[in-house]
């Protein structure tokens, strides 16, 4: 099993990546494909099928795909499918052994382990080490979390790190100012602020986050990180430990004392809608949901939103992290051409475009640190600061296991029950006992 602990960044790594990023930004970005020794036209005439998740990230790739086609002479046929359906389609086709696509876009936090066990990805290590296909030091710019996601326990490179999502706290500065509050720096302060901001008479609530089964699990595991606890550690479930129970109680307090009625059925979309109306003090979710908040056509909180790094928990300060990757299928007959596409998709220019459009955050440190790139970012500078700050305290939100959906569902039901008055310890112990055999079976298989 892949242990989440590996992703914790050391101070030395952060400093090293920061220094590298500064050096690169001074040198400026080379236009993609111009400075390398790679013969981009080597696979001209090849036709690639690309399977993408329908999302702002997938749309960015499709939008600029013509550039790749002009650079390489490779024809790309890309298909974007909504996330859930894309996952099902990919799994079914890959199981058949004859997928219709050469390149596939995955959510690391859901599919990494499944793809590794199924041996569905081509090992990209030989391509990365081949100077005719890759520039030297190509991987050195990726954040440690991205590389940990990309590599299997055996060291093979599956999907290249494409985009990362850190969980941050969106907060309404106006509501905070009215109550004379400042942004919380600890969990304790967060609860106090959330309760102080709540006033059902004016339909104002201090906090909102996902309450819907499955979607709510990352909220709780993110809080667990503040207690310095991962959901699975050393192959053992930690979901009924005292720290897990404390995190669940915190979730329960925030969601029952300071959240709007009906939050048990809220996914991110309902949370976002509520926050956009200007009646919510804090919204805890992924950094990628920010763009509509600053869109005057959709938002009543334009210019009033603060973007805060996750407050410190009793034992640690951690930004929960999920991510996307893009890789080549083991069954593809055009692996080299497909690899060139993945390399293009994860290059600095595409990373800058993702960031500037607010479509996602690249795993590349140099992009985040580049002043020129930051100038073009549509989101406020505070958002970029929150992203950069979160990168320094990044930890994996979810365990890298195959039955991650069952994990989210089983524990998610327990969390939803807390919102109806359930006891945290009882619910978590029941859900843990229910999930344990599923995990054991999965690891033995």
């Amino acid at each position: 099993m892949f242990t989440s602990d590996k992703l914790r960044l050391s101070r030395r790594q952060v400093l090293a990546s920061g220094a590298a990023a500064s050096a690169m930004s001074l040198a400026g970005f080379p236009a993609f494909g111009q400075s390398s020794q790679i013969n981009w036209k080597k696979y001209a005439g090849t036709k690639l099928e690309v399977n993408l998740i329908k999302s702002p990230r997938g749309e960015t790739l499709t939008k600029y795909q013509k550039e790749f086609e002009e650079l390489t002479g490779i024809t790309v046929v890309s298909e974007q499918t909504p996330e859930q359906q894309q996952r099902q389609k990919a799994v079914i086709e890959l199981t058949s052994g004859r997928p219709s696509f050469d390149v596939v876009h995955i959510s690391y936090h859901v599919q990494k382990r499944q793809f590794e066990k199924g041996k569905w990805f081509a090992d990209l290590t030989p391509f990365v080490n081949d100077p005719t296909l890759t520039d030297a030091g190509y991987l050195s710019d990726f954040a440690e979390a991205g590389l940990a996601f990309a590599k299997s326990p055996e060291g093979a490179i599956g999907a290249l790190p494409f985009s990362v999502d850190y969980w941050i706290v969106y907060w309404n500065k106006e509501l905070f100012a009215k109550k004379g509050l400042s942004y919380p720096t600890t969990f304790e302060e967060m609860v106090k602020a959330a309760v102080a901001l709540t006033d059902p008479a004016t339909q104002t609530y201090g906090f909102v986050a996902r309450g819907q089964k499955n979607a709510n699990t990352p909220v709780w595991t993110s809080l667990m990180l503040g207690y310095d606890k991962y959901a699975i550690s050393g192959g053992e479930l930690q979901t009924d430990t005292p720290e897990a129970i404390e995190a669940a109680k915190l979730y329960q307090t925030l969601m029952t004392k300071a959240a709007p009625p009906g939050v048990a059925g809220f996914n991110w979309a309902e949370c976002q809608s509520a926050f956009l109306q200007g009646k919510i003090g804090m919204w805890f979710d992924g950094v990628g949901f920010a763009p509509p908040l600053e869109d005057p056509e959709k938002s009543r909180v334009v210019g009033k939103v603060g973007y805060g790094i996750m407050p410190k928990g009793p034992k640690a300060q951690a930004a929960a992290t999920t991510g996307d990757g893009i890789g080549v299928t083991a069954a593809s007959k055009n692996k080299e051409a497909a690899y060139l596409y993945c390399q293009w998709a994860t290059n600095k220019l595409m990373g800058a475009r993702l960031l500037q459009a607010g479509a996602g955050v690249p795993f590349r440190n140099s992009v985040l640190a580049d002043a020129e790139v930051r100038k073009g970012v549509k989101m406020p500078p505070e958002w970029v600061d929150a992203v950069a700050g979160s990168a320094k305290i990044s930890r994996l939100t979810l365990p890298v296991i195959i039955p991650v959906t069952e994990f989210r569902d089983t524990l998610g039901v327990a969390l939803t029950n807390l919102l109806s008055g359930g006891d945290a310890a009882t619910e978590l112990k029941r859900a843990t006992a229910e999930f344990k055999p599923i995990l054991e079976r999965s690891e033995k298989a």
Partner: protein, 309 residues
């Protein structure tokens, strides 16, 4: 005198005995047979076979006999989903039946602009379920939805609708009722149009009031049509998926998870195909058994026009 070389002209004209072409019709059923076997029988036989195996996508398949069915017995989530399905089905049949019958009676009378109103009334039935679900999801929103606003206009406090485990199933039934009441109305309206006028004339002479005419003449006579509506609605409600999935995905928690949704999760999000197949088989048996019971009841409720005893 000439010698006859053949026995008779008739015998010469007919083909040789034993080579006579007999009409054969069986090749004509081959296309239909291929479709039925390929699209209906094979998937079912395969599902039945898969239900006797433990197979998760990406893992080795293993024959386990009836173990998947035994697992169902102790699966609390499965039994909860059965309960949700039962409640959802009963309410989703009763609601449209009452409102559809009332609407049919209204549209059967001589209303002004009856045709136009009837056309407007059947519109929900023509809409795509997922589109309907998205619109209703917005309407149900506890803070931003129009339904709570409407309640506030008549002095009723806000509801959490599909966002609360206690109110989620009745709220989903509201959508189902809104969409499928027109279907029941059309079926019952057809029945009302076919009713003879003599019993009503006799009842009027006997002094029966309108309620008595409805209770003792109309209702028994439209019984067979109501039974058709019950059968169609029951089967539809049992296999309802799109509206529930699009609005709640079975939530909050598993409060609106029916067998259909649970089956989908097991097979297509947990990729536990063997167990998912076992649930599908049980679900199929339930639907067939219920349909047979309803068809039997329908036959019992049919008019016995030729029975003069």
């Amino acid at each position: 005198m000439s010698t006859l070389t053949s026995s008779s002209p008739a015998a010469a004209a007919s083909p040789k005995k034993g080579k006579r072409l007999r009409p054969s019709y069986w090749p004509f059923i081959i296309p239909a047979l291929v479709v039925v076997v390929g699209v209906i029988l094979f998937p079912w036989a395969f599902t039945l076979w898969m239900s006797a195996n433990e197979w998760r996508v990406g893992e080795e398949q293993q024959f386990v006999g009836l173990a998947n069915y035994a697992r169902l017995m102790s699966d609390t989530r499965f039994w909860e989903s059965m309960g949700h399905m039962a409640v959802y089905t009963v309410l989703s049949v009763v609601g449209p039946l009452i409102f559809g019958t009332a609407a049919a009676l209204a549209f059967n009378s001589k209303l002004p602009a009856r045709g136009l109103l009837r056309g407007i009334f059947v519109m929900p039935m023509m809409a795509t379920p997922v589109a309907i679900a998205l619109v209703w999801t917005m309407m149900f929103h506890p803070q931003l939805g129009v339904l709570n606003y409407l309640l506030s206009l008549v002095g009723i406090g806000p509801s959490e609708w599909v966002f609360n485990p206690r109110t989620v199933i009745p709220s989903l039934v509201l959508v189902e009722t809104w969409q499928w009441t027109p279907l029941v109305m059309l079926i019952v309206l057809g029945g009302l149009a076919a009713l003879p006028t003599e019993p009503y004339e006799s009842a009027q002479i006997d002094g029966a009031n309108s309620w008595q005419r409805f209770r003792y003449i109309t209702l028994p006579m439209i019984g067979p049509f109501l039974m058709v509506a019950v059968i169609i609605r029951t089967i539809d409600a049992l296999k309802s998926f799109d509206i529930i999935y699009a609005i709640t995905q079975g939530g909050p928690g598993t409060a609106s998870e029916t067998v259909n949704l649970y089956l989908y999760s097991v097979a297509f999000t947990y990729y536990d195909i063997g167990y998912g197949s076992a649930i599908a088989v049980v679900f199929f048996v339930i639907i067939v058994a219920l349909s047979l019971i309803l068809l039997y009841l329908r036959q019992r409720s049919a008019w016995n026009a030729g029975d003069t005893r």
